[in-house]
C-alpha cells in the first residue's frame, strides 16, 4: 500500500460528513498579490484543485475566466477506494484525474493546502504533470503549514474578498504534517520562482509562485 492510500483511508471515512465545523477568517496577502496581477480585460484559465465552493465561483466571476474545478484530494481518495488492484503510480493516476488537452495553458493554479497532504514523490509527480499545462507567467498559489500537526483532511478555503479567506476545518481530528521547508519547495518547484512569500500568524506560509 503506497502513501496515497493513506489519503484514501482518511478521506473516505469522514470527507462527506462534517461532524464539527471550525471556521476562522484569515488575511491572505498572497491572494491579494494574486488579484493584483489579474486584469479585467482578458480571459483567464484558472485551475482550482480544491472542492467546488460557491463563494469562490462567485469571486472569480468578477474576472473573465474559465474555472476548472477538480476537488483533487477527494478524487484521489475515490480513485484509490475504487481501484480493484494496487494503486497505480502517481504519474498514471494524475494523468487520469487531470486529463487536459495538450494545448491547454493555465494562468492560475490554486493548490490551497494540498502540498501539506502529498508526500514528496507524489507532490513531485503532481508538479511535473501540472508544469505541462503552465506557461511563462502562470501563477501557482499554495499554503504550506509550519505546524507539526495539521487537520486530518484539507481545509476548505472560502474567498471572502481579495484579502481574506475563511478557513473551514471539517473536524478537530489531526494528523502529522509533512512540513516542507522553503529549500524543499525550491527543489520541487522547478521552473517556478517565488513571486511572493508570506508567513501568517495562523502558522501558514503563503506562496505565490510564478512560472518562468
Amino acid at each position: 500500500m503506497n502513501s496515497l492510500s493513506a489519503v484514501s483511508a482518511e478521506a473516505s471515512e469522514a470527507y462527506e460528513a462534517s461532524t464539527e465545523e471550525i471556521c476562522a477568517t484569515h488575511k491572505s496577502l498572497a491572494l491579494a498579490a494574486l488579484c493584483q496581477r489579474l486584469c479585467h480585460d482578458r480571459k483567464y484559465h484558472i485551475l482550482d484543485l480544491g472542492p467546488a465552493l460557491g463563494a469562490n465561483v462567485e469571486f472569480f466571476s468578477q474576472f473573465r475566466c474559465k474555472l476548472y474545478i477538480e476537488d483533487f484530494y477527494q478524487s484521489i481518495a475515490e480513485e484509490i477506494a475504487s481501484a480493484a488492484e494496487e494503486t497505480p503510480p502517481p504519474e498514471q493516476l494524475y494523468q487520469k484525474l487531470l486529463p487536459y488537452a495538450e494545448d491547454i495553458r493555465f494562468d492560475v493554479i490554486l493548490c490551497w493546502d494540498l502540498f501539506n497532504y502529498l508526500p514528496r514523490r507524489e507532490l513531485q509527480a503532481l508538479l511535473k504533470h501540472l508544469t505541462r499545462f503552465c506557461q511563462r507567467g502562470t501563477l501557482l498559489f499554495s499554503l504550506v503549514t509550519t505546524h507539526h500537526q495539521i487537520p486530518a483532511r484539507p481545509i476548505l478555503f472560502k474567498i471572502l474578498d481579495k484579502e481574506n479567506l475563511i478557513y473551514e476545518t471539517g473536524s478537530s481530528d489531526l494528523r502529522p504534517s509533512i512540513e516542507y521547508k522553503p529549500r524543499d519547495l525550491k527543489l520541487l518547484m522547478q521552473g517556478f520562482q517565488i513571486a511572493n512569500n508570506f508567513q501568517l500568524r495562523s502558522g501558514m506560509q503563503e506562496f505565490l509562485f510564478i512560472h518562468v
Binding site: 472542492p51 467546488a52 460557491g54 465561483v57 466571476s61 474559465k66 476548472y68 487536459y100
Partner: protein, 164 residues
C-alpha cells in the same frame, strides 16, 4: 334565467385573457416523474422538471429546466435557466443562470453567464462564465473536460406533457 356556469378554475378562465401574464411555477411546468426513463433527445416549448432518468440531450433553449432531487441525467442540457437538485453527468449550457442546489451533484462542463453553487453542492468540471452558450455550442466538441456529450438515440420527443 340560464346562467353560464362559473368556471371551476377561475384562474384558467383568466389565462385566456390577453392581459394575463402566466407565471410559470414549478407546479405548472411539464414534469417527468421519478419512475420514467427516457433515452433520446428531449425538446419542447415549456419549462420542464425532471425527476426521472434521461440519457441523451435536453434542448429547451427558451425555457427553464429543473433537475429534481430524484433526477438522474446523462445528457447535455441547453436551456435559458437551469436548476440542479439531483445528479447530472453532462455538459450544461444556460443563457441566463445556472444554480446547483445543495443536493445537486454535477460532473461536466458549464457555460453560463451566471453560476451559483449552494453550500454542499458537488461539482467537478469547468465553468465558463465568459462565453455565450450559442457560441459555445459550435465549439463544445473541442472542450476538454471529464464529461463527454452523451450519445443520443434515434428517438425524439416533442411537446412534453409527460407526467408520472
Amino acid at each position: 334565467m340560464w346562467k353560464k356556469a362559473e368556471p371551476d378554475h377561475p384562474e384558467r378562465a383568466d389565462a385566456a385573457s390577453p392581459a394575463h401574464t402566466p407565471v410559470t411555477t414549478r407546479e405548472q411546468c411539464a414534469t417527468i416523474g421519478s419512475s420514467i426513463t427516457i433515452r433520446g433527445d428531449l425538446s419542447g416549448e415549456e419549462d420542464l422538471l425532471i425527476q426521472g432518468r434521461v440519457e441523451g440531450k435536453i434542448d429547451l433553449k427558451q425555457h427553464k429546466v429543473t433537475i429534481g432531487k430524484d433526477g438522474h441525467i446523462k445528457a447535455d442540457i441547453y436551456a435559458k435557466a437551469i436548476v440542479i437538485e439531483g445528479e447530472v453527468n453532462g455538459n450544461l449550457f444556460s443563457d441566463e443562470q445556472l444554480i446547483i442546489r445543495k443536493s445537486g451533484r454535477v460532473r461536466g462542463n458549464i457555460v453560463s453567464p451566471r453560476v451559483t453553487l449552494e453550500d454542499g453542492a458537488k461539482f467537478k468540471g469547468s465553468i465558463d462564465m465568459d462565453q455565450k452558450p450559442a457560441e459555445h455550442q459550435r465549439t463544445s466538441n473541442e472542450m476538454p473536460g471529464q464529461a463527454k456529450p452523451a450519445a443520443s438515440s434515434i428517438d425524439q420527443i416533442k411537446g412534453l406533457g409527460v407526467r408520472s
